[in-house]
């Protein structure tokens, strides 16, 4: 199997699906000739031409609105928003229109498209280039939200997303775009949406993470092991619909759980996960569920390593939970 980083794996998935399905078109700022600011779409313009890899003006509302129209007419657009933080000029189109087609057509019709966008901190981008807006979109019924942590999952989940009958927001953890490397299956390869992955088995504490923070959770798990605490690490992969069954199964085993995410704490996805654990596994809990997250502040330029829920912040939470 070829070794790839996440950028290459996403590129591979897009290329595969574009060769197979002529309805798939890419669009976004500098995705064509330049190959995207993170080079995710590199080479696709040359292979598929400017009517399938479309450079757009700086116009997020226009990009997403147009993509919705294209989807209504049977194309499968995969627009790129250059940074997740720039998705908000298109928020209205996504929330008011995209999310609602299946509902307003009585379940018969959907605007099926995948919005790809890099999210998260780790590049010292400050408050306009670092956010993780998953909760804002999950709260809108009608959207699916995906965030891979490994190159193989990035490919498999992206192909699943493009083939999914509903709109998907595909969040790419830019911090590990190139740092995450691994074997990626060639050709057709699908990782089904809605299935979490138990990356590491363990009996003492469940750690739930996704995207770039998976690696921090794994690092904390390793350090916890040195202290005799055996963590189970769950990579969520699809953030919505949530694979609560896998989480609950793990929590029933360990009785202790720490949820990790970059986004601010209040009303983050961690809040929902903890609420569901309380509903479904309350009597199995040995300690209050914990969240290690970004703070309820804008994402800072400096202090990035304080803000992010890195291993050095996860480990004490694991220890505290284990000793409760």
């Amino acid at each position: 199997m070829p070794q790839m980083n996440m950028v290459q794996a996403i590129n591979d998935a897009l290329r595969f699906e574009m060769r197979k399905d002529p309805r798939v078109v890419l669009m976004g700022e500098d995705v064509g000739k330049v190959g995207g600011v993170f080079r995710v779409t590199q080479g696709l313009f040359d292979e598929f031409g400017d009517d399938r890899v479309i450079d757009t003006p700086l116009s997020e509302g226009g990009i997403i609105g147009t993509a919705i129209g294209m989807a209504l007419y049977g194309l499968v657009p995969v627009p790129e928003i250059q940074f997740g933080d720039f998705i908000f000029p298109a928020y209205d189109q996504i929330v008011s229109e995209l999310a609602k087609y299946r509902y307003r057509s009585g379940g018969e019709f959907s605007a099926k498209l995948v919005i790809r966008t890099p999210v998260g901190g780790g590049i010292r981008g400050g408050h306009y280039h670092s956010q993780s807006p998953e909760a804002q979109f999950i709260h809108v019924a009608g959207l699916k939200v995906v965030c891979p942590a490994t190159p193989a999952d990035a490919k498999g989940l992206l192909l699943a997303s493009i083939r999914d009958p509903d709109p998907v927001l595909f969040f790419e953890p830019k911090r590990v775009y190139r740092a995450a490397k691994g074997e990626v299956p060639e050709g057709d390869f699908v990782v089904p949406l809605g299935k979490a992955n138990v990356v590491k088995q363990g009996g003492d504490v469940t750690l739930v993470a996704w995207g770039a923070m998976l690696y921090e959770a794994l690092d904390a798990a390793q350090k916890a092991a040195e202290k005799g605490i055996d963590c189970e690490v769950v990579d969520l992969r699809t953030l919505w619909p949530l694979d609560i069954d896998t989480i609950v199964q793990s929590v029933k085993k360990t009785g202790r759980v720490v949820v990790v995410h970059e986004a601010p704490k209040s009303c983050g996805l961690g809040s929902e996960i903890v609420a569901l654990i309380n509903e479904k596994a309350f009597l199995h809990l040995e300690a209050p569920p914990k969240r290690v997250t970004g703070f309820d502040t804008p994402f800072p330029y400096t202090l990035e390593n304080e803000y992010l829920p890195l291993s050095h912040r996860i480990l004490p939470a694991v220890v505290e939970t284990a000793q409760y």
Partner: protein, 321 residues
Amino acid sequence: MTDHERHLGLYRQMQLIRRFEEEAARAYAQGKIGGFLHLYIGQEAIAVGAVAALSASDYVLTTYRDHGLALARGMSPRTAMSELFGKATGCSQGLGGSMHFFDVEHNMLGGYGIVGGHLPIAAGTAFASKYRGDGRVSVVFFGEGAASIGDCHEAMALSALWKLPVIFVCENNQYAMGTPLTRTLANDDVTARAAGYGMASDRFVCENVHQVMEHFDLAIKRARELSEPTLMEIRTYRHRGHSMSDPGKYRTAEEVEEHKRRDPLVVSRTALEKAGLGDKLTELDASVETEVQDAIKFADDSPEPGPELLAATTYKGAFAR
């Protein structure tokens, strides 16, 4: 002040911005500055000319390419460099960094990273000035890339309708990141829209700082005396990539060289030399050098902010968790 004295002052400001940014680029390469760094090199005459025509109480807002305007407005190089370095002595105590300068004292209401998002905000400050009758003008700078986003249209439509004392300044450097003008605008005359909104317009190629001042004089007069907006488009060129991470391969070396030959900073320097002010220039350059080196040293020596700063900068009072 004689014309020469005034010109020397403008030259010094442009040279300060140029040298400040060249040193910032070096510090970036050394890893002292992280994230993004968008250089204004090549466009300095616009901020300097505009600020020279404005009064200190007028409001200015710009994009993430904001160091030039901040320095022209009077932010000290120490404060600016410290912000780039993420230090507690920066204009936002290191929390914002390069793209997000803010300077209440000098009425610089921010560098903005969401393209186009600041245009309606400038309409709002102009509205407030009109409401208060305080005669202040708001000036908002943006790139031609921003001309395609909805906020741009909405800001201009409202400003014309409400006759707001605002100047929309499109610094058309002909590229939005890697995308040339020809592939983002069907009509490359951004000011053609002004007629549609019902506002005055002005379009010119930036050749030198005096010319910029003169054009601003007219637009400022229109805003201050008639409370009417202006859409201005100034053709210019950025010598560097979009930001430090952009090698700028979408432009030919010849094209860049061609524009460097017409660099308004060099135009000023040549004119001043011709006027026999060579010694004075050498003196000014030396003082700029001292100021920039001092800024680097100051930023280097300054402390980083502590995490306790986050809570206090999110809401007034302790709130954040």
